[in-house]
C-alpha cells in the first residue's frame, strides 16, 4: 500500500507552526517512514503533483493569494487541518481586524513612526504582482471547510505528532493537558 500523502502551507503565518513540525525531533525519521510529502515548504515542492490525503495549513487569510492557496489545498487534499492560532482565528495578523483597512495602510506606509519621514512621494504599494490585501484577516474555516483544528502559538510538537500519527494509523488522538495550549 502506498503511504498517505501530506501537503503543508504557510499563509498569513510566521512559519512558527512549521518550525514546530520540525520540533518533533528524531520522530521526523518515523514521519518519513509513515507519510510522503507533496507540496510543502518542507521539501520545496511548489505545486501539487497528486491528490493528497492530509493538508496542513498554517496562517489565516490576509490577502487574495492566501485565499487562492487555501482553496487549492481544499481541492487537492482529502483532509484539511488548521494548524495554530493564525489559521484557527487569524492570530496576531488579525489584530488589525476592526481597524478600517485605509487606516492600516496609511499607518504602515504613510504615518507610522518608521515611515513618516521616508515616503515623501506618499507611495502606497499597488503593483499588480502584489496580492490584494483583504478587508480583514479571515480564519481558514471562514473560507473553506476545515476538518480538524490544532491550536497553539505554535502548537506543541507533541500535538502535531499525536494528530498526524492518529490520522495515519487510525488510532485514538491522545490529548494530554499539556499539549492543548493557545500560546
Amino acid at each position: 500500500m502506498s503511504k498517505p500523502v501530506v501537503a503543508t502551507a504557510s499563509l498569513a503565518g510566521c512559519f512558527g507552526c512549521h518550525m514546530s513540525i520540525l520540533d518533533i525531533d528524531e520522530r521526523i525519521l518515523d514521519l518519513i517512514e509513515l507519510v510522503e510529502f507533496n507540496k510543502s515548504p518542507v521539501d520545496d515542492i511548489k505545486t501539487f503533483t497528486k491528490q493528497c490525503d492530509i493538508g496542513i495549513i498554517e496562517g489565516g487569510c490576509c490577502n487574495s493569494e492566501n485565499v487562492h492557496n487555501l482553496k487549492d489545498f481544499r481541492k487537492n487534499c482529502n483532509i484539511l487541518i488548521s494548524l495554530g492560532e493564525c489559521a484557527i482565528m487569524g492570530g496576531l495578523p488579525a489584530m488589525r481586524n476592526g481597524i478600517p483597512i485605509k487606516e492600516c495602510i496609511e499607518e504602515a506606509y504613510l504615518d507610522g513612526p518608521t515611515v513618516a519621514d521616508c515616503n515623501e512621494k506618499k507611495i502606497l504599494p499597488n503593483d499588480d504582482e502584489i496580492p490584494m490585501i483583504l478587508d480583514r484577516v479571515y480564519p481558514c474555516h471562514e473560507i473553506v471547510k476545515i476538518d480538524y483544528f490544532l491550536p497553539g502559538c505554535p502548537p506543541r510538537a507533541d500535538l502535531i505528532w499525536n494528530a498526524v500519527a492518529a490520522l495515519v494509523t487510525g488510532g485514538e488522538l491522545a490529548l494530554p493537558y499539556e499539549v492543548v495550549k493557545f500560546d
Partner: protein, 233 residues
C-alpha cells in the same frame, strides 16, 4: 453550629452547611464547578452562567443558588459540560482573545476553561469587536476587548471616598466597563494589584507586570483549573 445537610452531586453523597452556595458546597466535597464571575467575598451576580448545574432537573447557577437538604445535583454530565463549553466559547468569540499576545495568558481563567474543555476551535463565529484600550492611567490599563463583563471589578470594594473605580456603561452588546480616570490616577500599588487580581481575564492589568512569570510556571501551565479542588476529593 450551623445545620449540616446532605445531598448528591452526580450521584456522589455530599455534606455541607445549610446556606452554602452550591459552588462552595461542592468544593467542600472535592467537586469542582467552574466559575468566572464568582469571587470570594463578593455577592454573587451570576452574570457568566459557566457554573450552570441542574438541581433536581432544573438548570440554575451554582454560584448564586444555595444547596438544600436532599437535592440531586447534576454537574459533570455530558449535557452540562456542553453547555459550559458553549458559554466559554461565546465569551471567547465576543472579545478579541489573542492569547499569544496577552499578558494574562497561562494564568487566565477563561483560557484555563478553554483548556479544560479542550476547545480546539469555538463553534461560533469570531466577532472581532473594536473596543477601547484605555492605558491613560499611571498604574492600570483596561483592555475592553478582553473583558467578559463578569462585573467582578464593579462589585468589588476598590473605592476612594465611597466612589467606585469601575462602573458599567452603555447597554446590550455595547456594554463596557469604564475606569474612573481621576480615581485611577491616585491608586496605591496595592490597590492596582488588587484590581488586576479581581479580573479573571486579561482585561485589567497592572502596568509593568506583564509576562514576568516564565512559560511553564504560570498558574495553569501544568495542571487544569480546578484540579486543586478535585485532588481533595
Amino acid at each position: 453550629m450551623s445545620e449540616q445537610i446532605t445531598f448528591t452531586i452526580d450521584g456522589k453523597q455530599c455534606t455541607a452547611e445549610k446556606g452554602d452556595t452550591i459552588v462552595a458546597a461542592a468544593k467542600k466535597n472535592g467537586v469542582y464547578i467552574p466559575t468566572l464571575c464568582d469571587f470570594e467575598g463578593l455577592k454573587p451576580a451570576a452574570t457568566c452562567r459557566v457554573c450552570t448545574v441542574k438541581v433536581n432537573g432544573a438548570p440554575t447557577t451554582a454560584c448564586s443558588a444555595t444547596v438544600s437538604q436532599g437535592v440531586e445535583i447534576e454537574s459533570n454530565t455530558e449535557e452540562i459540560t456542553n453547555i459550559r463549553k458553549a458559554v466559554v466559547e461565546m465569551m471567547f468569540v465576543e472579545g478579541n482573545h489573542f492569547c499569544p499576545a496577552c499578558e494574562k495568558s497561562g494564568s487566565c481563567d477563561l483560557q484555563a476553561l478553554c483548556y479544560k474543555y479542550q476547545m480546539m476551535v469555538p463553534r461560533y463565529d469570531f466577532t472581532f469587536p473594536r473596543k477601547e484600550l484605555d492605558a491613560t492611567s499611571p498604574k492600570l490599563l483596561i483592555e475592553k476587548n478582553r473583558c467578559i463583563l463578569c462585573k467582578r471589578c464593579v462589585r468589588s470594594s476598590i473605592t476612594t471616598n465611597g466612589k467606585s473605580l469601575f462602573a458599567v456603561a452603555k447597554r446590550g452588546n455595547k456594554t463596557v466597563i469604564q475606569m474612573d480616570k481621576t480615581l485611577a490616577a491616585d491608586l496605591s500599588e496595592e490597590q492596582a494589584k488588587e484590581a488586576m487580581e479581581l479580573c479573571p481575564v486579561g482585561a485589567i492589568l497592572k502596568k509593568e507586570t506583564g509576562f514576568v512569570t516564565p512559560i511553564g510556571q504560570r498558574k495553569y501551565d501544568a495542571a487544569p483549573i480546578g484540579s486543586d479542588i478535585e485532588s481533595n476529593a
